[in-house]
Symmetry: C2
Subunit: 430 residues, 2 copies
Amino acid sequence: MSTAENSIEILADDLQQQMLDLGARARAAASLLAKTPAEAKNKALLQAAAAMRVGEGDILAANATDMAAAEQRDLTAALLDRLLLTEDRIEAMAKGLETVAELADPVGDVIADWDRPNGLRITRVRVPLGVIGIIYESRPNVTADAGAICLKSGNAAILRGGSESVHSSRAIHACLLAGLAAAGLPESAIQLLPTTDRAAVGMMLTMPQYIDIIVPRGGRGLIERVQNESRVPVIAHLDGNCHVYVDASADLAMARDISLNAKLRRTGICGASETLLVDRHCAGSYLAPLVKDLLDAGCEVRGDEDTIATDDRVVPATEDDWGTEYLDSIIAVKVVDGVGEAISHIENYGSQHTESIIADDGGVAERFLNEVDSAIVLHNASTQFADGGEFGMGAEIGISTNRLHARGPVGVEQLTSFKYVVYGQGQVRP
Amino acid sequence: MSTAENSIEILADDLQQQMLDLGARARAAASLLAKTPAEAKNKALLQAAAAMRVGEGDILAANATDMAAAEQRDLTAALLDRLLLTEDRIEAMAKGLETVAELADPVGDVIADWDRPNGLRITRVRVPLGVIGIIYESRPNVTADAGAICLKSGNAAILRGGSESVHSSRAIHACLLAGLAAAGLPESAIQLLPTTDRAAVGMMLTMPQYIDIIVPRGGRGLIERVQNESRVPVIAHLDGNCHVYVDASADLAMARDISLNAKLRRTGICGASETLLVDRHCAGSYLAPLVKDLLDAGCEVRGDEDTIATDDRVVPATEDDWGTEYLDSIIAVKVVDGVGEAISHIENYGSQHTESIIADDGGVAERFLNEVDSAIVLHNASTQFADGGEFGMGAEIGISTNRLHARGPVGVEQLTSFKYVVYGQGQVRP
C-alpha cells in the first residue's frame, strides 16, 4: 500500500469517527428535546431570528464569499439566484423562524383515545421522530427552515448543505446556535456537518442507529442517490409531473384561469402543472382558447395532433413529453376521451404528486378525486396550491410522494411519530 | 461457462420474470381493490371462511403432509406445534376471517378536514397502501390472517410462506381464492408465491415498483435479513425486550399479579416481559415476594446481587441478560434507584416495544410514561396487553417498533395511507 492510499484511509476512518460522534450527540440531544417544553423551543427560535437580524452583515459577507466562488465556477444564473442572499431574504428567513415559533407544538398531542371493556384507557400521543438528517443543495435558507421545523417538532437535526453555500450556511447556523444557547438548549440540537466531503453523505445514509429519517432536498440526482443508498427511511418526492384536466362540464373562464395559473404562476416549483388534458367533448370550443392563453403568455406548447391543429405555434409532443417535469415555461397538451382517459393517462405518466380537475359535474369530479392516486387531488383549483403554507401548516420541509408516514406537504406534525400510553388499574390479561 | 451454471441462470431469469409478472398482476389488483366497496371485500372474506369449513378435510390432509416432512427433518417441538393444524385451529382461522369482515372499512374515511381563508376545503382521506408483501415462516394460519387483513384494507397481498408449511398454505390459499371468486374479485388480489425458492424473497425486497411495503413475520434471522436487504419500506419489530418496573408507591398485590402475568401468561409472545425492575425504596419488603412468586411458578430468575440475596434459587444475571428477549420461562430481575434509573436502564437495554410501570404515585407514573420511548407504555397493567385485539383493533398483522408510519399493533388502519382531496370554486394561487 502506498503512503498516499494509507493517508486517505486514515482520513476516512477519522471522518467516520467524527460522523459517529456527531450521531451520538444528536441522539442524546433528541432524548432531551423530546422532554423540552414548547416555551424553550420557541425562545430558541425567536432568539435565533434576533441573532439573524443582528448578524445580517456577517451573513451577507459569508454569502459574498460563496457567490464569488460560484461565479468563478460558471454556475447557471438559476443556481446563482438560489445561492444569493439579500437583506430581504435574510429578513424573510428571520420571519420564517418567528412563524415556526408561533405554530402549535405537536408534541404531547393526544391524537386518539378510547376505553376498553376491561377498563383500560388507551391513548395515542404524538412524540418526536428522533433525529432527522437533511441533505440539501445550494439554497442556504434551508439551513434555517429545516433547523427550525425540526426543533419545533422536538427532533434533533443533522444538516448537510451543499458545498456552494458552505460559508452562508455556517453563518446562518451560528444564529441558530445563538438561539439554542439563549434558551439553554444544547448546540447538538441542530448540527451542521463540519465538512462538505461527499463521503459524509454516504455515512448519514448508513447510520440508522443515530438517524431516524432522511429528508433530501434538491435535484433528481440527489434524491435518486439518497433513495438508492439509504438504509435509513427517506421522506422525499422525486418528480412533480402534475396534471390539469378540463372536463366538458367545466366553466371555460375558470378553466382558462386555472390552467394558466397552474402552469405559469411559478414554473420552477413541484406543484406547477406540466400537462394539460382537455376533454374531447369540449375540445372544439375550449381547446383553442386554452392553448392561445398559454402561447400568448410566452409558454411553449407541445401538443398532440388535435392541439397542433388549433394554432401553428404549437409544436408536436413526443412520447417523452407526457412523462417530463419541465419546471419551465413549457407544457404538454393532449385531448382525451373524457375523465376515464384522463385518469388512465395520469396513471400511466404521472408521478402521484398533484392533479386537478376542472368540472361542474360533481359526479365526474368525484370519480377523478377518488380514482387518481396522487398525494393531492384538487377540484376547481390550481395545482400551485400544493404547498404546506397554502394548506395552513405554517411551514413545510417539502412535499412527500411517499405512501408511508407522510404524504403531501411535510410540516411539523408530519415530523412526529406517536406512542400508545395505556392507563390501567391493575389489569392482567386473562 | 459450464452447462450447469448456464441452466441455473436460465432458471433465475425465469424466476425473475415470474416475480415481475406476479408483481404487475398485484399492482393491477391493487388499483381495482382501491375502488372496491366494503360489501364485496366482506363477501369474499365470509365466503372464504365458508370454503375453509367445507374444505377442512383437504386442509388437514395437506397439513399432514407438511407435518410428516417436518418430523423427518427433526424440527423442534415448538416448531412442530406452530405448523400443526387441527379442527379447532381451522375453525379459529375461519372465525378470524369473519371477524375481519365485521371490522369497519377504513378506506374512504375522512381523517381530518379544514377550511382555508380563500375558501378551499382540505380533506385528508384514507386510501389503501397498495401492494403488501408478507414474508413469514412456519405458521400456516398467517396465510389466512394476512390475506384477510390486506384485503379488508383494500390492499393486494403477495404472500411468501415458509417451505415447511407449503402444502398447508396452499390449501388455505385455495379457500381465499374461492372467496375472492364468489365476490367477483380477481385471484391476483391475494397471491401466494408459486415457489419457496429463497431467491424469490430477495426479489420481493427489490421490487419497489410493484410492492409498497414488506411485512416480515418470523424469527430474528428473517427480520434482520429483510431489514438489511429491502429496498421496499419494511414494517417490523425486531425484539420485544419488555420491562415491568415496580415503584415504591406500588400496591404490592397489584405488583405481584402484574409481574407474574406479564412474564408467564404466555412466554413466547413479543409482549411478554423479560426484565423486572424493582425500586430500591421498597426492595426490602417487595423484592422477596415478587421473586418467590416467579420462582414458585416455575420461572428461572436471573438476578443482580440484591435479588440473589432474597432466594437461593436465583442465579446470577450477566450483562447479556439485560438485553435478552428470552421468550421462555426466564426473567432478569434488578433493583434500581427509583424511576430515574428504571428509565435509564430501559433506554440502555430495551427494544422500544412495551414497558409497564406499577405505581400509585401519579407524578412518578407520568414521568415514566412520558420519558420511556417505547411503542407502548402502560400504567398499572400487564405488558401482555400489547396486542391489536386487546387494543380493540380487531385483528393485527404484528406489532411495529418502527417510528415511521405504524408504531405498535398494525391493524387495518395502519395498512392504509391517505391523500388530500381539496375542493375549490375556481381558486388560483396569487
